[in-house]
């Protein structure tokens, strides 16, 4: 039972990390139809900014410095995302394939720049002393970091929810996901909504990048590749443009991957792809998606 619980909570923690990657992807796709390959670069930029802050600017390993490095990572990811949107995405308005292609280019260039500055070897992110501690829940000893991922993800989910539900720009974003042409036809400026979505997506990815660097033990320029692919899978399974769908799919994928990997080692990723295929065959619009793409 204790192992069962441990794997379950680890799966939820993993799902929380997937959610941080996927929520931005999902909103960006839902609102603008952009398949954002640069999202992995947002993740890396956030992780490196967090690393740089924690090592160079604020080299004291305390709770405060760690919290600040998560924040710095998030802001760096958000600003970088905004820059990419303003410099390249905006200029290819409504050319969806070209937008996807150009984000591929951005991801390559960003990874090469980070590699040129920081080198290709994994760099260890300084984590607080409690990082590897475990707390007891029932009979199970749960590593603390898993709970942190869940907590940060919940905070981010709440932030997104509040912005989408209670602000004017959130209203425009939600309306744009439903029917962008109609929003534009009503004379509402959606450009601000585009930038907001990119910033928020980059923010979540940057925060996720710092946490993933803690989870996987280090930052390197190409460490985001697999996470981005999982992000895509979560978005497709959850339904594009649906925040709730992303959260649900991230949990489902995180948990099932952990359990399968424990009981049938090595098959976890395989099961995720089977799940993806099943969703595509029986529910092409995704779990909570509204329209098939």
């Amino acid at each position: 039972m204790d192992t069962f619980l441990l794997i379950g909570i680890t799966g939820i923690g993993l799902g929380a990390l997937y959610f941080l990657v996927a929520c931005g992807l999902s909103l960006i796709y839902g609102l603008m139809g952009v398949l954002n390959f640069a999202h992995g670069a947002f993740l890396s930029v956030g992780a490196f900014a967090g690393y740089w802050f924690a090592v160079k600017l604020f080299p004291v390993t305390s709770n405060l410095s760690f919290a600040l490095s998560i924040l710095v990572g998030g802001i760096a990811g958000g600003l970088f995302a905004l820059l990419v949107e303003q410099l390249v995405i905006k200029r290819l308005y409504n050319r969806h394939i070209d937008q996807a292609l150009v984000t591929v280019g951005v991801s390559l260039v960003a990874a090469a720049m980070l590699g040129g500055w920081f080198g290709h070897d994994p760099l260890l992110l300084p984590t607080p002393t409690w990082w590897y501690n475990a707390i007891q829940i029932g009979d199970a000893f749960i590593p603390v970091d898993r709970l942190l991922y869940i907590g940060v993800s919940l905070l981010m989910l709440i932030l997104f929810f509040v912005i989408l539900r209670f602000t004017r720009i959130g209203l425009v974003i939600r309306a744009g996901v439903e029917n962008r042409t109609m929003v534009q036809a009503l004379g509402i400026n959606v450009k601000l909504a585009f930038s907001t979505v990119f910033f928020l997506g980059g923010l979540a990815a940057g925060v996720g990048g710092v946490l993933i660097a803690g989870y996987s033990g280090g930052v390197s320029p190409y460490f985001s590749g697999t996470w981005l692919i999982y992000g895509f899978i979560v978005v497709v399974v959850g339904g594009m443009g649906s925040l709730g769908g992303s959260a649900l799919a991230a949990l489902l994928i995180g948990i099932s991957r952990q359990y399968v990997n424990y009981y049938a080692p090595g098959l976890g990723d395989f099961v995720v792809v089977i799940l993806l295929a099943l969703v595509l065959i029986f529910r092409p619009q995704g779990l909570l998606g509204k329209v098939a793409h």
């Binding site: 398949l35 720049m113 792809v273």
Partner: protein
């Protein structure tokens, strides 16, 4: 017509020159290293062309093409090493396996279109990479890859002294790929591919089943990729997990965009240039002439991917059509100017 009237003659003379390269009395042409580099570049040219059938001619932005390239290499090396099949039988086995795999993956992925299709093929491709990298069932030897057992293949493909046979083999594979892609794109089915790329709704209004044609294009491209995979296995001597990486498909995309998706020769040229550029830029940037620059600028410039990625972004944003697109634009301007000149009065 934009086609130059001597283009076919040019193509055949280029081919004849390529075939003759190992026989010419020029030192660099005779060196095994040069022949090896060009052989790999030609195989990447062929692979880029097989990808162009999907992306340029059918409008399917697939991110899983590397899966079929890798399946060609891995299935054939497993059949040769473990089952003791001959090279030709193993090639056939890899081809059949890949066609079945492509039919399965394609029929699931083609339920989606456009951008979602890109995501789904990416996921399937990554699943293949994970299976290879995790050594599921002990078949693939994880990240070390599977070296080809040299005793089991024809001896002309073994040893540095025989590199010119590998060189000729890669030319043969390129010609085969070119012929198949030419035949398919000029066939009635190829017209439907182009129609699907340009206006899918119209194809279905005309009463054609678009997804069947897309699956055909997907499978033909995969079959070609598997044969090229066998070629790469022989040229490099082993099947490596990086063949299945998403980055391999992304490199193919770069090649096709660089050379231009609108023409067959553009895709091949893009593949050859990209492959050579990647090896040469590496040598060039590590030669030390960038050492004087501060790390802020010099660091990224030392990465070949930085330069290639920048070129890629500029082509997508400012010069769609890549090299062949630019060529056709210039040629169009030339032809329009020529037809504008007033006829000389007799």
């Amino acid at each position: 017509m934009l086609r130059w009237k001597y283009s076919r003659q040019l193509l055949f003379s280029l081919l004849a020159f390529l075939v003759a390269i190992p026989l010419l009395p020029v030192d660099i042409f005779r060196s095994a290293g040069f022949q090896q580099t060009i052989a790999v570049a030609l195989l990447y040219g062929a692979l880029a062309l097989s990808y162009d059938l999907l992306f340029g001619y059918t409008g399917l932005l697939s991110f899983g093409h590397a899966l079929f390239f890798a399946s060609g290499a891995y299935v054939s090396v497993i059949l040769i090493n473990r089952a003791g099949w001959s090279l030709w039988m193993a090639t056939l086995g890899a081809l059949v396996f890949t066609i079945v795999l492509a039919l399965l993956v394609g029929s699931a992925a083609l339920r989606t279109t456009g951008i979602a299709f890109a995501m789904v093929t990416l996921a399937f491709g990554e699943a293949g990479h994970v299976i290879i990298n995790r050594n599921v069932g002990g078949w693939t030897n994880a990240e070390n890859g599977l070296p080809l057992n040299a005793d089991r293949i024809p001896s002309i493909f073994v040893g540095v002294a025989n590199t010119h046979y590998i060189f000729w083999l890669s030319i043969a594979i390129l010609v085969l790929t070119y012929a198949v892609v030419w035949w398919v794109t000029e066939s009635p089915a190829g017209r439907v591919f182009a129609a699907l790329r340009d206006n899918e709704t119209r194809v279905s209004v005309l009463g054609l089943n678009g997804s069947r044609f897309k699956l055909l294009s997907f499978t033909v491209a995969a079959a070609l990729a598997s044969i090229i995979g066998v070629g790469m296995l022989i040229a490099s001597g082993s099947a490596a997990p990086r063949y299945a990486e998403a980055n391999t498909t992304i490199a193919l995309l770069l090649m096709v965009i660089l050379g231009g998706a609108i023409s067959r020769w553009g895709a091949v040229l893009g593949g050859v240039i990209y492959s050579i550029a990647q090896t040469r830029l590496q040598d060039l940037t590590q030669s030390g002439f960038l050492d004087g620059l501060p790390k802020l600028i010099g660091g990224p410039l030392e990465e070949p991917v930085f330069i290639l990625g920048m070129i890629f972004i500029f082509i997508v944003m400012f010069s769609p059509g890549g090299i062949s697109g630019a060529y056709y634009r210039i040629r169009l301007r030339y032809l329009t100017n020529k037809s504008k000149t007033p006829p000389v009065k007799a």
